[in-house]
């Protein structure tokens, strides 16, 4: 299954919303434990009557989706599919808190209504009056990948010609506190661009939304094409990862010799990064390697940011130096392999290619 990426957009801790030039000016953050999105002026995209109930993630999702469709010159997508690991947690926390604070009495319904995981996909549909296929996947580090898989299948089942797929998650004060107590983040603040230098436990928390307009048809301004992502759950050892990698590449009739750039989900957590370094040593020695979580932070749907980065790198044929782990690519970048894992549970591969 092959589809074309005809429009992209991301709202992230980088200046990605108006994405033309962000590759030239990546933002580094000093002494931080988490990265938050650089947000657009929402009122330019969402009318205030509609925006008044929306939490931050809904606004970022709707804005990014609209901008993505503009980018692809698509007015009415044949499907809207989102992936989110934790969904609308700000409103979930708000409603949950109100249950206890108000002892189950006189609760405002709005945060409950807006807490459901499908709120963003539904809000996009409502904004566009789009009655077509609509779904939401909520599976940790597979959330975006499942949305994409569904979208690719739809494009090949024919009813849809242009579809919208996105991955998004938000970070709230409480979700940071809880995940920090769970030991996911570095205990002392770091400089984001030096994320890989600390060599200790934990990563840098992040958030973001990234949307893609996909089609079976190539257009003049298509960014890249892509095939079905591969997902594998709880590999038992590194050789299972290697096996999955070779199966993935051979499915698309590729070998590592075809890969011009590898983008890895390195996140600074020494234990989790070990797998990536092993693969670099044993398989990616002669391939330029890049990484991205120092730009967007770690979150369940961060792979959507990686796909966004890859699509842009292929179209622009440039990659910010701060994203390169070793050497920058010298040849034309035709095929990018992305490998990401979330806490060594949800592992995924993507292949993004020039078209």
């Amino acid at each position: 299954m092959k589809v074309y990426i005809n429009g992209i957009n991301a709202i992230s801790p980088q200046h990605t919303f108006k994405h033309e030039d962000w590759l030239k000016e990546p933002v580094g953050y000093r002494q931080v434990r988490y990265l938050k999105c650089i947000e657009p002026v929402y009122t330019e995209y969402i009318d205030p009557m509609a925006a008044r109930r929306m939490s931050r993630i809904v606004k970022t999702g709707v804005c990014s989706a609209i901008k993505c469709l503009h980018d692809a010159a698509v007015e009415m997508p044949g499907a809207i599919i989102t992936g989110t690991g934790l969904g609308c947690i700000e409103d979930t926390e708000k409603f949950l808190g109100s249950i206890f604070v108000n002892k189950e009495q006189l609760l405002n319904p709005t945060p409950f209504i807006q807490s459901t995981h499908n709120t963003v996909a539904a809000a996009i549909a409502l904004k566009l009056k789009c009655k077509n296929y609509n779904s939401t996947y909520v599976h940790r580090g597979f959330s975006f990948e499942h949305a994409l898989t569904d979208g690719l299948m739809l494009l090949h089942e024919e009813p849809a010609d242009n579809i919208l797929v996105g991955g998004l998650d938000e970070l709230t004060d409480n979700s940071f506190i809880i995940t920090d107590r769970l030991g996911l983040w570095k205990k002392t603040p770091v400089d984001s661009l030096k994320l890989l230098k600390y060599n200790n436990k934990g990563s840098l928390a992040g958030e973001g939304a990234a949307f893609f307009a996909l089609s079976r048809e190539r257009k003049e301004n298509s960014y890249a094409c892509m095939s079905l992502p591969a997902m594998f759950y709880k590999p038992r050892n590194i050789s299972e990862v290697e096996h999955q990698l070779s199966a993935f590449l051979s499915r698309d009739e590729k070998t590592l010799n075809d890969i011009d750039l590898v983008i890895l989900g390195l996140n600074g957590d020494a234990a989790g990064d070990k797998i990536y370094y092993q693969l670099i040593d044993q398989h990616f020695k002669n391939i330029p390697v890049a990484y991205f979580k120092h730009l967007c932070g770690e979150y369940d749907t961060s792979s959507a940011f990686a796909v966004f980065l890859a699509a842009l790198v292929i179209k622009k044929q440039q990659i910010p130096e701060v994203a390169c782990l070793n050497k920058s690519p010298e040849n034309k970048i035709k095929h990018i392999l992305i490998y990401n894992h979330l806490r060594n549970i949800n592992h995924t591969f993507f292949l993004i290619s020039a078209c």
């Binding site: 109930r53 809207i80 690991g85 934790l86 969904g87 409603f95 949950l96 808190g97 249950i99 206890f100 604070v101 002892k103 189950e104 009495q105 609760l107 405002n108 319904p109 409950f112 209504i113 807006q114 807490s115 459901t116 995981h117 499908n118 709120t119 996909a121 539904a122 809000a123 549909a125 409502l126 566009l128 009056k129 789009c130 009655k131 077509n132 296929y133 609509n134 779904s135 939401t136 996947y137 909520v138 599976h139 940790r140 597979f142 499942h146 898989t149 569904d150 299948m153 090949h156 089942e157 409480n174 506190i177 809880i178 107590r181 769970l182 997902m231 594998f232 759950y233 709880k234 549970i345």
Partner: protein, 401 residues
């Protein structure tokens, strides 16, 4: 030609039964599971009826045969119980024999545990036991079921409000048709929580009495809890393994009402479209449907909108129709799968379920639901509707072989 998708096993736990036999017995004998809340600690215990699975955490651990110390949410336990039944019912013992997936659906995941965590946490951010919050996200219950059953090839979770598990079935069928999986265990699960009972109460759509779907005097829904799972297998695998097949998933349709965040459109646009798409994928005419298992929550808005959509598609004399939510309450993310199991059992047993407590014809509709159990053989094609907030509407069609 894409493969047909067969259902070879089902599993269910809800307020009307902890397995297929109890369930079918309750369905046949008009035994509703809606009653006084006895397990959930809520201020509405004596005010709002609900359809609880009358089993404590320990009871569920025992039914599931779990002894380890991993934290299990009520959601995960209900899911495991139904999933295990479905695998046994389908006589599947070697998970690795074929490329097998698991797709579960839920709306609030491990919220039952999150509530335990959150109460002390809002007082002091260092309080709350972490083992009560790590099961919060929707993926947790699915991965717990995956680990329990040994399914690893494809593990996914859908959440589209009240149509969640109907979309899990839809996705499972499509994954098989697209050749990505050979077998897939699909379903959904939700436990009754303070979050949902207070949420729906804040929307003022909970009936203080047992619900009356499609009744002129209907006054809202009752919440329920439970899990339903169904084993889907590609036709070629079922044939090769000489499986006894329960029925086929022949049609599915997903559409968005795109009308309002919570309310359905007056003419039921989304509902009409999802039903129409389901008929189209199954290549059936409306007249070929023998029974509609409606979404039928019992709210003023849903039943009117769904009823109007049914009239639009099926005319003024639609096929027999009923909502089984008068038995189970609205099990939210589990509803689509629980009702899919009911549809499979209907085909198996040649019966159409009554719409309990129906008395008065809705003034806006030309038809009324089935009021008594009907024996009808053969039941060839059944449609099941699941509609959710945000306008996420999905219809499925089950066909006898």
């Amino acid at each position: 030609m894409p493969e047909k998708v067969f259902i070879t096993g089902v599993g269910i736990i809800s307020s009307i039964g902890k397995g297929i036999d109890e369930t079918i017995d309750s369905l046949k004998n008009s035994r509703s599971g809606i009653g006084v809340i006895t397990l959930l600690e809520t201020a509405y215990k004596n005010e709002l009826p609900a359809a609880e699975v009358k089993a404590t955490h320990e009871d569920l651990m025992e039914i599931a045969g779990i002894k380890d110390k991993r934290p299990y949410s009520r959601t995960a336990l209900l899911g495991i119980i139904a999933a295990r039944q479905a695998l046994r019912h389908a006589f599947i013992d070697d998970i690795a024999a074929y490329r097998t997936g698991l797709i579960s659906a839920t709306t609030v995941g491990g919220m039952d545990k999150s509530e335990v965590f959150y109460r002390p946490f809002i007082e002091n951010k260092r309080h709350g036991r972490l083992r009560d919050i790590i099961t919060h996200d929707c993926g947790d219950s699915t991965e717990t079921i995956a680990d329990y059953t040994g399914i690893r090839d494809y593990v996914s979770t859908v959440s589209t409000a009240c149509s969640s598990s109907a979309n899990a079935l839809l996705l499972g069928a499509r994954l098989i048709k697209n050749g990505l999986l050979q077998r897939v265990l699909v379903g959904g699960v939700d436990a009754l929580t303070l979050f949902t009972i207070n949420g729906f109460n804040s929307l003022m759509i909970l009936d203080k009495n047992p619900c009356r779907p499609f009744d002129e005097e209907r006054n809202g829904l009752n919440l329920g809890e439970g899990a339903g799972f169904l084993m889907l297998e590609a036709e070629s695998i079922a044939e090769k393994e000489k499986k006894s097949v329960l029925c086929e998933i022949s049609g599915y349709g997903n559409a968005c009402d795109a009308f309002h965040q919570t309310a359905s459109s007056p003419e039921g646009d989304g509902a009409y479209l999802s039903m129409k798409k389901a008929l189209d994928t199954a290549r059936l005419e409306p007249s070929m449907i023998d029974y509609i298992n409606a979404h039928g929550t019992g709210t003023k808005n849903n039943d009117l909108s769904e009823g109007k959509a049914i009239e639009r598609l099926f005319g003024n004399t639609p096929p027999p129709c009923s909502s089984t939510k008068a038995y189970t309450g609205h099990t939210l993310g589990a509803a689509g799968a629980v009702e899919a199991v009911f549809c499979v059992l209907a085909i198996q047993n040649g019966i159409i379920y009554p719409n309990l407590r129906f008395q008065k014809q809705m003034s806006e509709l030309s038809f009324s639901p089935v009021v008594a159990l009907q024996n009808r053989k053969p039941l060839k094609h059944i449609m099941s509707n699941s509609f959710g907030f945000g306008g996420n509407n999905t219809s499925l069609i089950f066909s006898a072989i």
